[in-house]
Every structure is written in structure tokens, then in C-alpha cells.
Amino acid sequence: MQSIIVENISKRYRIPHHKKTTLFQNVIGIIKRQLTYEEFWALKDVSFEVKTGQAFGIIGRNGSGKSTLLKMLARVLYPDSGSVIINGKVASFLELGVGFQTELTAQENVYIYSSILGITRRQTNRIYEAILEFAELKKFEDMKLKNFSSGMLMRLAFSTAVHTNPDIMLIDEVLAVGDELFQKKCMEKIHEFKKQDKTIIFVSHALDVVNQVCETAMLIDGGRVVSIGHTDEVVRNYLYMLDHQRSTHSSAPIAAGTRFTDLLQSDGNLALMTSYQAEKIIGVAADADADVLCSADYLVLSRFRTDKTGGVNQIRIRCSSPGNVKLALYTDYNGEPGMLLNAVQTGIPVADGWNNIPFPQTLVSFGAHYWLAFCSDTDVVDAKTSSGFTRRFKQASFNTFTFPNPAGSGFTADTSHYDLIAGWG
């Protein structure tokens, strides 16, 4: 039984050279003959099928057509050609919204949303408490949504969507807002959904979550399907594609003994990030006292490359005193943190000296790829956005440390107050 059958859909947007939104402008436009426009195919000949009970991931870069596709599955946008067949009640969770009106209260919105999905008032009365309880918003039921924070809105939307018992759920970037605790609740709910044999379409940049939730995935780029298949494989294709798309950079190995400062470019970016290529992990390390190193909250650790079989077993962190650190792994995107590929691991206990932290198994399956690892011992929580990292990274003034030499002997920092960075795995 197929829940979703998509056949050869294409969607074309017309982008007029002179945007006309009023009758006046239209009349003027006709007189001046400003009727030209550019065509842009957001989707081109996309076909796929999703079986009932399947969790289906859609991945791709920004602007690849993921959201347009999801909106067509939600029947909000119409394709210019091709057909979409959907069997079952669809709850869509698009761009963090489910059709709430900000001028209405939480309660009114919940009732309206349920009636959109064809749920009677009596049934809604029954699930109403559960919705607000799950969203942790009971206190705010009579508040207008315009006064809600984005996190509250998202919680209410997600909670309402999952409690209305749909057959098919379209989920777009559920993890973008909301604290870690709520994200965990969302994931539990999604897994519960899977157990109930419901169909899930999951769009996310968090590839390890996609891998965890979905058995099957589809990669789209430039509005076309690149590959469909087992999630592992599709994610690997995706990472390969990313690697390939930026391969214009030269990547000469760095000579042993190179200093970080030598690699710093005038704009504050590290040249190292685009040129360093080591086939095996390089351990990374942080000072347990974050203030010491460039007074950044996060310490940039390293870029390393996993080989085809994963190849990396552990990340090494060296500390000057015992404590807890957090670690985040990003894909490397032109030397800048690309995507956060697994949740930031917090509270990793570390002892004096070198600590070995296992490389997440979920990421090993992605195969050969460049990574950026970040480590910090502070409690700053904004680990969700890479911009926080990037900014701090760029501001950081890397003093002179010696780059580790490939023989694996480690290295020494040449200023006395931090102990640092990296060793070979």
C-alpha cells in the first residue's frame, strides 16, 4: 500500500524583472511593456513513492527544492505538471508552522487546526489537555499567539500536529528551534509514530537524525532527484556531492611544523581549513580553561578526514585539569562549519591529560568526509547554530602553536599558559 505517489512533478516559478503587485503597476507595466520574466524550475520531473508505515527522508542543500516539494505534498502548492496522489490524512509541519493565526489565542488555534483535519469538537475536547501538556503551555492557553516566542509556537504547533492522529506527517526541520529537552520529546514522538505504522516524510539538515529516523531517503539537488535508496547510502552520496562541489580548492598537505598563525589569512579564516588533508584522524584538544585560548567560548579544534570505512575511532581531547567538556562535530564546508551532524555531546567527563572520546557510530557510516570538531568546557548553549561557532572562530586570535607533526608524536605549544591541541590517532 502506497501512502504517497509522486509522478513526474515539476514546478516552475516565474520571476518577473519588474515585480508588480498592484493594479496600477500592472497597467504601467503593460504600457511600458515590462512583461519579461525569468523562469526558474524549483522542481523538475520528480518521482517517488512512499509506502505506508515508511519513514522517508528528504535531504539536499538550501534551495534544492525540498520545501517546495513538501508544500506540494501538503497540497498547498500545485505542480505545473505531473501528479501527486496521497492516501490518508496529512498533518503538515512546514517551516515551523501548521497554519496558526497569530491574532488568535492558543486555544482557538488548536480547535481550528483540529477541525481542519476533520476532527469533531468533542474529539478535540478529549485531546486538548494532552496537546497543551505536551507543549508545556497550559498556562498560556488564552494568550494570543503573537505574544508567543518562536519556541513556544513551535512546541504548540508540533504538539497539535502529532495529537490530531494523522496518517501521514510532513515534518520540515523540527529540530531547528526548541531546547534540547523538547527536541528529545519530539524525537520520541516521531519514533512512537513509526511504531504505529504511520508514514513520515522527514526533511532535515541533521543527517544523523535523518539516518536514525528514516530507512529510505531521497537526495535532491537543483530540483532534481539525485538518488533514492537506503538512507546510509543517500547520505553518503550527499556528503560526496558536497565534497565534490567545493573541490575547486587546492588541498596540499601541510608540512610538519607549520604554525597556526602561518595559516591564518588576513580575513581571519584559516587557510588550513581548505588545504589540510590528513587521511587519519587527528585528535583534537581543548584546554580545560577556555579563557586561556583566544578567550573564545568554543575552541576550534580540528579538521580531519574520515576514510571510506569511517576510519576514525576516537577524538582525543587533552586537558590541563579534570572537568566536563562538550563536543560538536560539523561537516566542513569550505573551512567553515557546515552542518551539525550529531547533537552536541555535553558533559563528557575528562581527566588530566589526553582523553579519548569515541567517534559517534552514526557518523562512521557516512564514509570519507571532512569534519570540524569543536570542543569547549563552558556552558554556552547556542551550539545549535553554526554561526555562533563561526563568529567566535573568526574572532579568535590564534597565537602561535606548532602544528602537530604527522609522525604522531604530538606537539608542543610554544606559549606556556595553554596546553593544547591535537595528536594523531
Binding site: 501538503a74 477541525s115 469538537r121
Partner: protein, 253 residues
């Protein structure tokens, strides 16, 4: 019609929320909303009562005309905004989008019915009795509803693409107000202009409402046919325009 039944719960919810917002959640809100038309009627009464040789039933004449007009003016104007102002119902969920306009016109219908109920005692006081023809009021009002709904669909769909339509429509509504026999009697229109004057379907509606509620005249089949045809035409054009344009709503709002 079948989809309307399927989504009756949604239509009901949207209509109620509309009403609640209009009256700020209180019964007093309804009274406040009545204040402005009643005051306007009062002013018009004092200004125009000696002009054009108005008879003693002029207050009733004025009130029925104004209340009928209000449903048209408010219903179409708020319909115009309905799709754009409820953008999230267009861009995030899939519902038959006509429902948004329908529930908006329905909430205006309810407001209008309440207003008519309020003026019935006044009509009674002015005339001394109420004609039995008033029983036909619901039927004509239903036809009137389709007329307003059709125009509402047309405006709501066009406004998504033409964002100055609200200003244009405001001017048109004002012009139409003076082109309809609301504050002046029909005898003021010269025989020569009369055929053109009657092209305005609002004229026929207002004449029928006055006949039913004040004078106790049965509307002629001819005038019923005219308003019926006008409503049907408005609905067909509105519906066609709406269905044609709604495919790209989500891209434009």
C-alpha cells in the same frame, strides 16, 4: 456543497472566531458596533427629513436601507482582506480556500441578522404594525447572501495579486452608496436615467427589503428574477475567478 458539509466544523470555528474578534468577546461589543450605523442614521434623518418631501416613514425607510447596505459593504470589504489576512491557512495547510471567504461572509451575515433584529422594534414603533411579508425576508436574504459571497470570492482572489484593490473597492463602495436608493427616494431619479440606474442590483435588493419590512408589498416575480440572476452571475464569476487564481495563492500571499 459536499465539501462545505465535510468542513462544517472548520466553517463554524472560523465564523465564531471572526464574530468574537469583531465584538471583542463581549455582548457589549455588539452594541458598540451598532452605535455607529444608528448614529449615522440619526444624523442622516435630521439632515434629510425635510428634503425630497419624505413621508413619516422616513426613519424606517432609512434604517432598512442602511442595514441592507451594511451587509453588502462590510461583507465585501472584509472578504477582500480575508485570504491575505489569513495567509497561514493558505500557505501551511490544505483546505478548500473558499471556506475562508465563506466563513467570513457567514459571520457578516450573522452580524447583519442581529442588526435587523434590533431595528424591527423601531420599525414597529414607526409604522404601528409589522407587515406579514416580513416572513419572506429570510428567502431574499439568502439570495442576497449569495450575491455578497460571489463578489467576496472575486475580490478576495484578486486582492492577492493586486494589492491596491482595497483602495479601488473603497471608492467604488462609496460611489455605489450614492447610486443606491438609501438616503433618497427613488422618485428623485429621472425617467431618462432610470434604466441605467436600475442596472445596479443593490437598488432592486433594497427596494425588495423595504417592500417586505415596511410596506407589506410582495416582491414581483420580475424583481425576484433580477436579484436571483444578479446573485447567480456574481457567484459564477466570483467562483470561476477564485478557482482560477487560487492555484498560486500560496506563492503570492
Amino acid at each position: 456543497m459536499i465539501t462545505a458539509w465535510k468542513y462544517r466544523e472548520l466553517i463554524r470555528n472560523l465564523t465564531l472566531v471572526d464574530l468574537k474578534n469583531r465584538y471583542q468577546n463581549t455582548a457589549l461589543g455588539f452594541i458598540w458596533s451598532l452605535l455607529s450605523p444608528l448614529l449615522l442614521a440619526l444624523v442622516l434623518y435630521f439632515v434629510f427629513r425635510y428634503m425630497w418631501g419624505q413621508g413619516p416613514d422616513f426613519p424606517a425607510y432609512l434604517l432598512v436601507g442602511m442595514m441592507a447596505w451594511r451587509f453588502f459593504a462590510n461583507g465585501t470589504t472584509s472578504s477582500l482582506y480575508s485570504i491575505v489576512s489569513k495567509a497561514s491557512l493558505v500557505t501551511k495547510v490544505s483546505i478548500p480556500r473558499k471556506i475562508i471567504v465563506l466563513s467570513n461572509v457567514l459571520s457578516n451575515l450573522i452580524s447583519s441578522l442581529l442588526e435587523f433584529i434590533v431595528i424591527i422594534p423601531i420599525l414597529f414603533m414607526v409604522a404601528g404594525n409589522l407587515p406579514t411579508t416580513i416572513l419572506l425576508f429570510p428567502l431574499v436574504f439568502l439570495i442576497y447572501f449569495w450575491f455578497v459571497y460571489g463578489i467576496g470570492l472575486f475580490l478576495a482572489a484578486l486582492y492577492v495579486y493586486l494589492r491596491d484593490l482595497n483602495q479601488i473597492w473603497e471608492v467604488l463602495v462609496n460611489v455605489l452608496f450614492f447610486l443606491s436608493p438609501i438616503i433618497y427616494p427613488l422618485v428623485q431619479i429621472s425617467d431618462k436615467t432610470m434604466p441605467y440606474y436600475l442596472l445596479n442590483p443593490m437598488t432592486e435588493f433594497i427596494i425588495i427589503f423595504r417592500d417586505l419590512m415596511i410596506y407589506g408589498n410582495m416582491p414581483s416575480l420580475y424583481s425576484l428574477a433580477i436579484v436571483g440572476a444578479a446573485s447567480l452571475l456574481a457567484y459564477i464569476i466570483g467562483n470561476f475567478t477564485f478557482l482560477k487564481l487560487q492555484r498560486r495563492f500560496a506563492e503570492e500571499v
